[in-house]
């Protein structure tokens, strides 16, 4: 039995630009709803009137605490202060927000301010019987998984490969309560120093051929021709010979253990 806090942000639909649940934050809430928790505290820092917050309530939350602050403020200090008063065992959040700075720095800064460990890219959490530690599973590239043991308390960021979030239901979304707590937040000077403009897609960089070697003919050839292999050829071997050749090739490539 653990005390879980979930940090939720407002996302942005990539096509329509409407406010929505941030996908990984919704997965974090889904994971929190599946944990054996004595208390679940959902926190949002920003505008309490955002319609997307009701979508989180519709997933089965009773209430959501919003630290009301203006746009362009740094939410780390108020969030950390609020979390310190709650002292949760596990803090869950998505690994990347969408719609703001999107740097993925907030969980790290919150964890550093609270002085607790951070586990990135989590897809599953199992709390051990005593409640003093948890077994977490991280998602890696190429569908691989890694298991770790972490002592509570910790901050975990949720990977997009985590189990998908349940849909939001209309009734609970209407019934849920949003508690607005006005807080003092310092303006974000780092973000204010950056110039923002609409994103324009750049042409994809052609990464063919070794750079600086050969001329235009080589680059054209690398871009257009099908790649030719090293060309080892066995014509009509017996099945066992063929199997051995394949097996050795796979071992050499490192996909099979030697």
């Amino acid at each position: 039995m653990v005390d879980v806090a979930i940090l939720l942000s407002v996302g942005r639909h990539p096509v329509s630009g409407r406010a929505r649940r941030a996908p990984t934050d919704a997965r974090a809430l889904e994971m929190a709803l599946g944990l054996p928790a004595v208390r679940r505290t959902a926190l949002h820092a920003g505008d309490p009137a955002s319609p997307a917050l009701r979508d989180y309530l519709g997933m089965g939350l009773d209430r959501l605490t919003v630290l009301a602050m203006a746009h362009g403020c740094d939410p780390v200090e108020p969030l950390a202060a609020h979390l310190r008063s709650l002292s949760p065992g596990i803090v869950l959040t998505g690994n990347r927000a969408e719609g703001g700075e999107d740097s993925g720095m907030l969980p790290y800064r919150v964890a550093h301010t609270l002085g607790v460990a951070i586990v990135p890219d989590v897809v599953a959490i199992t709390v051990e019987a005593g409640g003093g530690a948890a077994e977490v599973v991280q998602a890696l590239a190429r569908g691989q998984r890694r298991a770790l043991r972490v002592a509570l308390p910790f901050v975990a960021t949720i990977h997009p490969a985590a189990p998908s979030a349940r849909p939001s239901a209309f009734g609970p979304a209407r019934r849920g309560r949003i508690d607005s707590v006005p807080v003092e937040a310092p303006p974000d000077a780092f973000l204010a120093a950056c110039a923002a403009r609409p994103w324009r897609d750049r042409p994809k960089r052609l990464t063919v051929g070794a750079p600086g070697s050969g001329g235009a003919l080589d680059r054209l050839r690398a871009a257009t021709e099908a790649k030719a292999g090293q060309g080892r050829l066995l014509v009509g071997p017996s099945p066992d010979e063929a199997a051995l050749a394949i097996y050795e090739c796979l071992q050499e490539q490192g996909v099979l253990p030697r």
Binding site: V119, R146, G229, G231, L233, C249
Partner: protein, 409 residues
């Protein structure tokens, strides 16, 4: 001009005639002796027969010519400034003894080898260093690579074991200690999964903000994508940056000294993340686009039980060509090719696939292809690194038997 092919200079008859002219009035008189003829300039005359002889790669069973100038005989070809084959020159060693500032390029070295992304980070650091007159310090777990050829002036080695084990906290502490000691002007990371994690840990340890996932970089401006992909944030390159994949072109041929610096002291303290171990995953549960090892079936496969047993025995993700998925032998999300999934596996084992152009497009990013096919002239055989002309139905059970004998599957 080479010794074997003394080619004549191109002649200019008008100039020769003018040189031979002794007097014009009352009648034009010319000297007839040969030595008066001037060696007028002009382009060297080309000998097409000699060029063709040098371009011959093989003459039996059929003639093959290589006009790129890289054939064996081409080294004797005269190289003229601005034309002909360019001579491959060794880059000159560039030593920066007294740099104006230092730049850290913190490299991942995933799975014990430098990735393409690591090279791009070094290229980005080189770009910023050349503008500021600084030196690039590669901060990397110790390994065998020649970092000087990749553009590093200095190397700050971290313990070699950190490349394999999962030690983000110790790695971050070591990088933060090195930053405190050398105070570099910029610190660049790779925005990969582990590199991005390390960058954020270092950023909070230094109490600074990270400019994460830089998509375009020049010495005056760095830009990244924000606002759910709708906004571009730009500013002068800040102190901590992480470089997105394929945002910066890797360097060409360069030569730097890669002088080793004293490694930072090993951080003490017990890490909070312990007992990291890889979990076995179901290979068929992995998406085809991110699978590492794929065994694929085409129209030449009829024994589907043996194919399924082979996938289990080798621990490979199963896939198929369009024909196979159309026939319903495999689900549609297992189709490789232009209308299916473009795969980027390390190894692709194809049974009974002839290699339609659409299928070859789908395996364009594969590192190594092994093909088993009955047709010697199939396009797949040309593409494969190991091609076996045999019946898939005979090879698959033999491979399953071999894998079981060797103790896995």
């Amino acid at each position: 001009m080479s010794e074997q092919h003394p080619t004549a200079r191109r002649r200019d008859p008008r100039a020769e005639r003018a040189a031979r002219t002794v007097r014009v009035e009352p009648r034009r008189r010319l000297v007839l002796s040969v030595d008066v003829v001037p060696q007028t300039g002009g382009r060297p005359r080309r000998d097409p027969r000699a060029r063709r002889a040098e371009a011959i790669v093989q003459s039996v069973p059929r003639l093959r010519l290589d006009w790129t100038g890289k054939a064996v005989g081409a080294s004797a070809l005269p190289t003229v400034e601005g034309r002909g084959p360019r001579a491959a020159s060794e880059p000159v060693l560039r030593v920066i003894d007294d740099p104006a500032c230092l730049l850290f390029a913190v490299l991942d070295r995933p799975d014990g080898a430098l990735s393409g992304h690591d090279r791009q980070v070094l290229a980005a650091a080189r770009l910023l260093a050349d503008a500021a007159g600084g030196a690039v310090v590669a901060v990397v777990p110790d390994g065998g690579e020649d970092l000087g050829a990749l553009g590093a002036d200095r190397v700050l080695p971290l313990p070699a074991a950190w490349a394999d084990e999962y030690a983000p906290e110790r790695r971050a502490a070591a990088v933060a200690a090195a930053i405190a000691r050398w105070s570099p002007r910029h610190i660049l990371f790779a925005e990969s999964q582990d590199g991005g994690d390390l960058a954020r840990r270092v950023a909070v340890a230094c109490g600074e903000r990270l400019f994460a996932g830089v998509e375009s970089l020049s010495s005056a401006r760095a830009a990244r994508r924000a606002g759910g992909g709708a906004t571009e944030l730009g500013c002068a390159p800040p102190r901590l940056l992480s470089i997105a994949a394929d945002a910066v072109a890797p360097l060409g041929a360069v030569r730097h000294e890669a002088r080793r610096l004293d490694p930072p002291p090993e951080p003490d303290g017990v890490p909070a993340l312990q007992g990291a171990r890889r979990l076995p995953v179901d290979p068929d549960g992995v998406g085809l686009g991110e699978a590492d090892f794929i065994v694929s079936a085409g129209n030449g496969v009829t024994d589907w039980d043996a194919f399924a047993a082979l996938g289990r025995a080798l621990g490979a993700t199963r896939a198929g060509s369009r024909v196979v998925c159309d026939a319903g032998h495999l689900p549609r999300d297992r189709q490789v090719g232009a209308s299916g999934t473009v795969v980027s596996a390390r190894c692709y084992l194809a049974f009974g696939i002839a290699g339609a152009p659409q299928h070859l497009q789908g395996i364009g990013g594969v590192e190594r292809v092994i093909a088993v096919n009955t047709d010697l002239h199939a396009a797949m055989i040309k593409r494969a690194d190991l091609a076996i002309i045999a019946d898939a139905q005979a090879v698959m059970p033999a491979l399953v038997r071999l894998a079981r004998e060797r103790g896995h599957g």
